[in-house]
């Protein structure tokens, strides 16, 4: 045991020079700011420049006394679930086709096409939907050109518009993570199941789905977390109805300048997201 002990200490001594820069950076830009935010959420001061502030729980009390905050948080969580669900339903089959039907160069090219939007601009992608969805926009014009009767098609500034924009932004994540786990499944397993008489559906349900579950869950986490805190997409596509928990937090920092309340609201969101991740952790571990 003594030798393992010294080897371990040795390992740390050798690892430290390589590790320190990265972790020091994370400390400065992530961990210290998060701690500062917790402290800030307990301050009374309305303006960040005022020094004479004392500690209080009033900002957290504000969340519980005004039902609007809880309602908006619930709406944001529902939005996150809905967008994640749509991404699974649309993205998993696409990843399956990509991993199991396409081969060679064609697969590589399509895979690249799916992930290329990551290197474009998410804001622009969201905004470009407004040209498609509004009345007199592309979809409206196209539908009226094809249909014999007059229809008014105006999804702009509505909840569905927000959902469409978010699904469009985050779908590539789901295809990517599902593809990576589906690609790792040996085709021989699928063949074995089929040759033993399992139907296509049974093979999918009993063999492929369990093995691909880690990819689905990783993609879900990558989508659900940012969507719950989204504020840009609801503002651009949701209009007046686009008020969500994220937009209220944004307002505290950029319009109302009530930073302590904004910090408390942020921290509550963080706690809820972490609670959801913790609750799903056993499922994740079982899957992995």
């Amino acid at each position: 045991m003594a030798t393992t002990g010294t080897r371990r200490q040795n390992g740390l001594a050798k690892a430290l020079p390589l590790l320190t820069p990265a972790y020091a950076w994370l400390t400065l830009a992530i961990f210290l700011p998060l701690s500062a935010m917790v402290y800030f959420s307990l301050l009374t001061s309305m303006s960040p420049s005022e020094q004479s502030s004392s500690l209080t729980l009033a900002n957290y009390a504000a969340f519980f006394s005004d039902p609007l905050y809880a309602t908006l948080l619930w709406r944001s969580l529902q939005l996150g679930l809905l967008v994640t669900l749509i991404c699974v339903v649309v993205g998993f089959p696409a990843a399956y086709v990509l991993a199991k039907i396409f081969k060679g160069r064609a697969r590589e090219a399509i895979f690249l096409l799916v992930i290329l939007p990551f290197w474009s601009n998410s804001l622009v992608r969201v905004f470009s939907w407004s040209m498609v969805l509004r009345e007199g926009g592309i979809l409206d014009t196209a539908l009226n050109a094809v249909l014999p009767f007059e229809v008014t098609f105006d999804l702009m500034y509505s909840f569905p518009a927000v959902v469409i924009g978010l699904v469009h932004s985050y779908l590539p994540y789901m295809v990517l993570t599902c593809y990576l786990s589906l690609q790792a499944i040996d085709d021989a397993l699928i063949e074995a199941a089929r040759s033993l008489g399992a139907s296509r559906f049974t093979t999918l349900r009993r063999v492929v789905a369990p093995l691909a579950l880690p990819g689905v869950l990783a993609g879900s986490a990558l989508i659900f977390i940012p969507v719950v805190g989204s504020f840009m997409e609801p503002r651009i596509l949701g209009g007046r109805g686009g008020t969500l928990y994220g937009t209220v937090i944004e307002d505290q920092f950029t319009a109302v300048y009530n930073w302590p309340l904004g910090a408390a609201l942020s921290f509550i969101l963080l706690a809820v997201v972490l609670a959801i991740l913790l609750v799903s952790a056993p499922v994740l571990r079982k899957a992995a």
Partner: protein, 263 residues
């Protein structure tokens, strides 16, 4: 292998086509509208290049674009170097607390950007680091680091430690081993990690939004301001240039490093 019947694989191809149309439709429309004369995106389409000419005069937008590029390049370099070093340490050495260190990589990914961004705003403001391009760079590198470490570590999983031991037993110093054996072997992982870092930074809006100041801003922040004030087709023009540029860059890179292919 048991092949899917033709109609099923045909259906699959058709489905992928639909998904790609969904992903690219708005981008194509945006590119088309950057050549449309109507500033309100009215149809019928009338061709013009006036928005590109107007863009050349828009100093604010050009400055923001250059800022975005500068920050993305610096983020890529810093995050790739720091991340690769950390991945090597986590790969090579065993020590107490390693799992904790690995778990600490997840907060930047697992915390909504809105929260990271506002937390950085509070902390940078309170400590005198302040806002501006340097603060944005600080934030972007932190967000990109976990992606680099995860991608490079995944690549290291396919690398055998025996190669390092062999080089060492043949008299190579540890730096020579790293430079001549390890790094060339994991180069595709490092490049992929760097590309992710670039994408994270170049596309990052939320954190930049809270850390930008009027003179020191990035393209996404400038576009958001423009959308809320009243969008101009010049933004379509600059976005089209960026998308064409970054997609060509990716295509060139992917010619040298295969992604998603059978490896």
């Amino acid at each position: 292998m048991i092949r899917a019947p033709a109609f099923l694989s045909g259906l699959g191809r058709f489905y992928i086509g639909l998904v790609l149309v969904f992903l690219y439709l708005p981008l194509i429309i945006m590119a088309a509208m950057s050549f449309n004369a109507s500033p309100f995106y009215q149809l019928p389409f009338e061709g013009t290049t006036e928005w590109y000419a107007a863009l050349a005069q828009n100093d604010g937008l050009i400055a923001a674009t250059l800022n975005s590029l500068k920050i993305a390049v610096m983020t890529t370099i810093l995050a790739t170097v720091l991340g690769t070093a950390a991945s090597l340490a986590l790969f090579r050495y065993e020590f107490r607390g390693k799992r904790v260190l690995q778990a600490l990589l997840f907060p930047p990914i697992a915390i909504p950007w809105l929260i990271s961004g506002t937390a950085m705003l509070i902390f940078f403001f309170g400590t005198g680091i302040g806002r501006g391009l340097h603060a944005i760079l600080l934030g972007h590198v932190a967000l990109a680091l976990p992606y680099v470490i995860i991608v490079v570590s995944a690549r290291l999983q396919t690398f055998s430690k025996d190669l390092e031991d062999a080089a060492a037993s043949l008299g190579a110093s540890s730096w020579q081993t790293t430079r001549k054996v390890t790094l060339p072997c994991i180069a595709p992982g490092i490049v992929a990690g760097g590309l992710f870092a670039f994408a994270v930074s170049f596309d990052q809006f939320v954190v930049s939004y809270f850390l930008a100041t009027p003179g020191q801003t990035t393209l996404p922040v400038e576009i958001y301001a423009a959308i809320r004030k009243g969008f101009t087709p010049e933004i379509n023009a600059v976005s089209t240039i960026i998308i064409v540029f970054s997609m060509s860059l990716m295509l060139v890179v992917s010619r040298f490093f295969r992604f998603g292919g059978d490896q």
